[in-house]
């Protein structure tokens, strides 16, 4: 594969221009460069690998269709990441419609948990961490990813999720608490196993 594309090395601008012209060679090049980075993002926003691949596929189709609309503001990868996140949200909303119940928190969350520190042992692999995120409730997973990893503000998340910033904060704390419990449990288990 790499041998085939030896002459096909192009800069970001060239790739974008090629994709606007709907040149399949440049499209493939773009896919090869960014697929794994965007797949990383898609995996974190969905429940399993199959959903993530669906999201990635739809996102790339959107990217190729709306390539003209990329105006150079922000990084190209960031622009594509937002498209992936949007696609993940569309899937999330579809799931809400199917299951009809959305996980919502309305109470004032009096947060007593200030300590969110955690210890990473060597056994905590990418795969384990990913599974933890994927097993979070839908709403928690969205907020946690957007705020902690992509670095969106509460107000931005609230706009996307159609909820109040307070709710976002509450959900984030709960997500963190769940993850912390999970990691501590695994740590304890590992500890017992060794001794």
């Amino acid at each position: 594969m790499q041998n085939d594309n030896k002459e096909m090395y192009a800069s970001e601008e060239e790739i974008i221009a090629g994709c606007i012209k709907k040149d399949i060679k440049y499209m493939e090049l773009l896919y090869k460069q960014y697929a794994s980075k965007l797949f990383n993002c898609a995996l974190r926003y969905t429940k399993n690998k199959e959903d993530a691949e669906d999201v990635l596929q739809d996102a790339f189709i959107q990217i190729f269709e709306h390539m003209k609309q990329y105006n150079g503001k922000g990084t190209f990868q960031g622009w594509m990441t937002t498209i992936v996140i949007n696609q993940a949200f569309m899937l999330y909303r579809k799931n809400i419609k199917q299951s009809k119940y959305q996980l919502v928190d309305f109470e004032d969350y009096k947060d007593t948990m200030k300590d969110t520190s955690v210890v990473q042992h060597d056994f905590l692999s990418h795969q384990l961490l990913l599974e933890m995120i994927q097993n979070l409730p839908d709403g928690y997973r969205m907020v946690f990813n957007m705020h902690e990893i992509e670095g969106f503000s509460y107000d931005e998340i609230a706009k996307v999720l159609h909820c109040t910033p307070t709710t976002c904060r509450t959900q984030l704390f709960r997500a963190k608490k769940l993850l912390q419990e999970k990691i501590n449990q695994l740590n304890d288990k590992q500890h017992k196993h060794i001794h």
């Binding site: 399949i24 896919y31 995996l43 919502v104 928190d105 961490l129 990893i149 109040t164």
Partner: protein
């Protein structure tokens, strides 16, 4: 082993360089979807545009036609309902009393009494419905020959004569079965007109009384053999009665009783509390009679958010002054209908922000 002060940092660090590889079919699907439709789209651009315009116009005309047929159908169904409602008229006692009073006043025994049959009783007052009596199988030879009435003391001695509107305008009479007067009443034909309940419409759960008066060998389809049966109507159904008519002929009559809900609650499925004056409150609208209304609104975690017994009172999407987020909420409604039966309805609705 590495210690993180915040759990978010752990995940951010770990996923920064994480590069999983998606399956190969993803790119195959993308390349198929991206390239093929576009190349053919440019070749047959005008064909596509023409086809889409054609499809759109046919779809619009179709939908218009469909809508029209739907609305007309709706109107006719309402009309038919109205007409059946109007067939609830009078109970028999009333008719007889009417005629008795008219007879009291008249001295001329041969005077014929005309009767109109379109009185309407209020729909909701119809709790123990007695259905109207209809004359069936009137013997055509029936003629009143002489009627002399000498005493007004006993009601049994009254005769009721009716002018039948249709056909040959036969006169017929109704006499009491226990008629044993030795006074000079000379009614020659002792056959009695047979009265069968007419088709009718009642409220759901109403108790209805059906008649097959003066008929012999009565057999209802529920096994009863009485002249009068009482039934609770939960749903629309047809009663069948077999009887022997005045000529000794076996006859079957069908009585259709339609049950309609008399308390109709309209419960919205969503509301938008954004103070724009449109659907700012979750409110239930009701028509008909009911009592002891109660509504409880829950969250999906079964926490009670709102409770009231006044139907006019709506919920504005807050709890203890806190604005609640977009999402699904549950309700439970309880009320007693006009037959004092408790009815409960549960469901869900969407709060849209």
């Amino acid at each position: 082993m590495k210690k993180y002060n915040d759990i978010g940092d752990l995940f951010r660090d770990n996923f920064k360089d994480y590069a999983p590889v998606p399956s190969s079919h993803v790119w195959e699907n993308i390349s198929q979807k991206v390239v093929k439709p576009h190349s053919s789209y440019f070749k047959f651009k005008y064909v596509y545009i023409g086809a889409t315009i054609f499809i759109a116009t046919t779809a619009i005309t179709l939908s218009i036609v469909l809508q029209q047929t739907k609305t007309t159908h709706h109107v006719t169904s309402i009309n038919s309902l109205n007409s059946t409602e109007q067939t609830i008229h009078i109970n028999e006692d009333k008719i007889i009393q009417d005629h008795i009073t008219t007879l009291d006043k008249t001295t001329d025994n041969k005077k014929l009494i005309k009767k109109t049959t379109s009185k309407k009783i209020d729909f909701t007052e119809n709790q123990s419905t007695t259905t109207p009596l209809v004359e069936k199988t009137i013997p055509p030879q029936l003629h009143i020959q002489t009627i002399t009435q000498t005493s007004n003391t006993e009601k049994e001695q009254k005769e009721i004569k009716m002018l039948h509107k249709t056909g040959q305008k036969e006169n017929f009479e109704q006499t009491n079965p226990e008629y044993t007067s030795n006074k000079e009443l000379s009614v020659r034909n002792t056959d009695k007109a047979i009265y069968i309940s007419k088709d009718t419409t009642v409220c759901e759960n109403a108790i209805i009384t059906l008649y097959a008066k003066n008929a012999k060998n009565i057999m209802w389809n529920n096994g009863q053999t009485d002249e009068e049966i009482r039934e609770i109507i939960n749903q629309s159904k047809t009663f069948t009665v077999n009887y022997t008519d005045a000529y000794g002929k076996d006859t079957t009559a069908h009585i259709f009783v339609r049950a309609v809900p008399c308390t109709i609650l309209t419960i919205p499925t969503a509301f938008t509390p954004n103070n724009d004056g449109l659907n700012d409150e979750f409110r239930i609208f009701a028509s008909g009679t009911f009592s002891e209304f109660e509504i409880i609104i829950y969250s999906t975690h079964k926490k009670i958010l709102f409770q009231t017994s006044h139907i006019e009172q709506g919920w504005d999407g807050t709890h203890n002054g806190n604005i609640l987020p977009h999402g699904v909420y549950l309700y439970r409604v309880r009320y007693k209908d006009n037959f004092n039966q408790t009815i409960e309805r549960k469901g869900e609705f969407l709060l849209i922000r």
